[in-house]
Symmetry: D2
Subunit: 299 residues, 4 copies
């Protein structure tokens, strides 16, 4: 397929490569053009504006937050104005449920199609075409996307016709990961202060009850106190928990664990860990227990 | 080996069978004798008192809580008085760190050996010899237990020389499971109220990031609202969280998620779910979000 | 002084009367004009648009939330466009710190003056000229407002030159009141379930350590379970806690008690108490403790 | 009256003086005898054992915790053994509801009388005879105590016939004070980081909505960061919150704010503030917000 791609950050770059490798043609826009140029040898085409990325069969957006997506869609030379009737916008970003609803309404009133399809996976999974995709939108629109999703990863969940349902799922997943970070952080602080070797503990747990990637990856980061450089930085984790809490508040759903996690991320930032990985919750739990930590945070 | 076994509840019964199947000889005491008699055809011998179970190479205790263990050890005709010098007591129960320390001291001052070896697994795993054992104690004592542990399950973690370290690990593990229950309960209430099919959500999550037994088992119980009959009843879950909080308090370790879970278990009991499975946290989260639930709790 | 007043709700109506009683001339705008007409006999003049209320020495706004204030300021025929250079806008509403900053910037760039002066007190205090006013803004602007503040109540706190500082104080005060609601709710549930007469408890506490209006007023509402009709409805309480949490998040300040209260307000709404007074936290605490409550909430 | 008094700590010493000043005769026991001798000039008599303090019309105990009370009551030469039939034990200490129930049962089975009468007030109030007393017990026994209570302070609340009800009230009161500490700590961290002068804030609040002693006293300690020397040390505050949580758990009452406070006290201790006043929650909130604090805590 001929597709436009808006956003060539760590995730977007990997997605571009996966799409190209699967034989799609990609015209990409990025605010900092150098990042697109870096993919020239992979065969990517450069778009000068988001609008210029709207001339193919679909335009995909993969950006950091609501503000970035709003800008490329609603601003002058944005997607909403450039996409023809029947044109398809696929939003891959982790954005708010409210913005997803607003995009759906805006595209509908311009007779355009909209699919929300946030992805699970880190940049290396994007590169390798191993992302998991959660998609929602009108079935005919979702079907149009399938060749693209197949290029991005083997795992696809179609969650319903209303695009924002996919954002609900994505935010729930990130909430569950953050819950693992905080509960592991508390457990590891407890066992360390009790004299148990936390490495042995994690080896045991991840070979029995908790033998899943999330526990393995983050358990070892927390045990080692290795939170820099960030794979997924604290402000991004805080953003996702905030989006969960906002969406849940709109439906009157209390989420006390999400509230606890939000407070801990704020403390992490207040104590100077804003550039650390969100697994830095382990450092916060250690500090609150009076344990020595790997790095003295500076405010 | 010739062993005594004190406590033939759901777990003890399965452990007895696994020991017998592996060729050990088991003399068992249970307050309600009928439960021992039920295992007569498996070859079990009956002990009239805990003391009578102390004549073999080791005596194992597997009981519901601290009070039960204290009673069979410290009361008249108890293990402490009956065990000879050099005799070995192996505590398999989920008890407090403080009681484990007290048992270690009491046996040491009677020149007896003590190993703490709580187990992970439900009654069916006990029956099938598929428990995971976490053991701590003097290496020579732990070594003596190994044929017994092998009969109980394939997975053994030896955590140190101080017996109560094994209790720290066991309590941490149960805390992590309870954290999963609460975070899944919140996430599922959120997606249900947002219009996402929670079964599809759990299928997706447990085939990607969270493909571990805990998420699979409890995710489906919470989605279905199937909390009766109890596999592990709320008061036992509350007890374990209380023991974690007490042990962590003794070491000045705050555990905010454990505090949240404790409050939710109390609400579960206050609203009439004391006989339900600890996964009933899913019902509490649903009620707090104003969702319909499977069963009207009665106070 | 000749002043405009935008917003004749329960609070605005009382403020209008206090201003008139003190000899000021008031021209008022309200979306529903009937509420202004009801004050005709008090001598109020009717403005057809917010712009029409901008012809005096100052225009005051007292509205329910950010959206309402944004609308009367920024929309066509709004205050920003109508106010002359040097004109003064005094915002009495409980709005977000962020909106207060935005208003300050907008008025400054139009060479207008802006004072933020949220008020503490219920509608009866507004009526009686007994509000407490927290004001912030350039000293010369705050001075211009003093005759108005004196008419509104005897107590004035000037908190700084940056208008949004007054909003920080107002939100902090409301957070502290909400904290009292929740802590009293928990304490009263605890003593009721323990067999202590909660009326006697509150009589004792409010005549010793806690002899302040907040404890007296709300203690008795919670003890009696009298949460309808609402003096200050749950959604307004939730809004204020949300504004505190947002402003605190912007400064990386965790506020765990505010998080707890937010969750409880959400449960209150989810269980059908959206029209109740924010003291309904007492009913939620009672329900969570399995106690009978005054009214069966309906979802 | 002729009374025995067991416990001459900061509180007991003041109570002794108040009793003597009111004309009562006091025979006192203290583990460290020098503290009794220091009151010789006030007219106090020395008892060599708790039993020796049981020869008057009543024996009063005022000690730090459950363990201390258990020891002087149940040990050899303790009160239970020494008090004659019909003898009266008045417990003034802040002890657990469970111990209060146990004392009631033990004295009843020895045909002795028991009144629980914990007191509100700091040592200076004890000295000055300005304590507030909360008493519970059989009416005839409480009546016998009235001359003593009158000497201790002007304020008496009789809460019921079951002695432990007085402990429920005392613990609830201390929970409410601790809630004020934590909510003020959060609010003050928020306003400080927002640029508001916290002294001005507290002046305003305590002259309007929160004009009660608790807010005045602790607001100023938190604003000044003056937590040493301790008026009431962190471990005592933690003990009281623990007793509240235990008693509430026994009645299945969740108390989420109490849980938050417990976690914060643990962090305070873990970070080296175990000798500070319980108002040190202000320092913890400031640290968690990344604010500079008055004293670098040492682990």
């Amino acid at each position: 397929m001929d597709v436009g791609l808006v956003g060539i950050g760590n995730m977007g770059s990997g997605i571009a490569k996966s799409l190209l490798r699967a034989g799609h043609r990609v015209t990409a826009y990025n605010r900092t053009r150098a990042r697109v140029d870096a993919l020239a040898s992979d065969g990517i085409q450069v778009a000068a504006t988001p609008a210029d990325a709207c001339r193919g069969e679909a335009v995909l957006t993969i950006l950091a937050d609501d503000a970035a997506v709003e800008s490329v869609v609603f601003d002058d030379n944005g997607i909403l104005g450039a996409l023809p009737q029947g044109g398809l916008h696929v939003s891959l970003s982790t954005i708010s449920v409210a913005l997803s609803d607003r995009l759906a309404a805006a595209h509908a009133s311009s007779a355009q199609q909209f699919v929300s399809a946030p992805v699970f996976g880190r940049p290396d999974a994007a590169d390798a075409g191993r992302l998991a995709v959660v998609a929602a939108g009108p079935p005919v629109s979702v079907d149009r996307c399938k060749p693209l999703f197949e290029a991005m990863g083997p795992k696809l969940m179609v969650v319903g016709e209303k695009p924002s349902l996919a954002n609900v799922v994505k935010l729930s997943g990130n909430f569950l990961i953050a819950s693992v970070l905080e509960s592991l952080s508390e457990a590891i602080a407890f066992v360390r202060k009790s004299g148990v070797d936390p490495t042995a503990l994690m080896d045991f747990l991840t070979s029995t009850l908790f033998n899943s990637p999330v526990y393995k990856t983050y358990g070892s980061l927390i045990v080692e106190g290795k939170h820099e450089p960030a794979g997924f930085a604290v402000p991004l984790g805080l953003k996702d928990v905030r989006l969960v809490l906002q969406a849940a508040e709109a439906r009157s759903v209390p989420m006390p664990i999400a509230s606890v996690i939000r407070d801990r991320f704020l403390t992490a930032i207040a104590r100077g860990n804003q550039h650390s990985d969100w697994s830095v919750l382990g450092r916060i739990a250690a500090e609150d227990a009076g344990l020595p930590t790997t790095k003295k945070a500076t405010a």
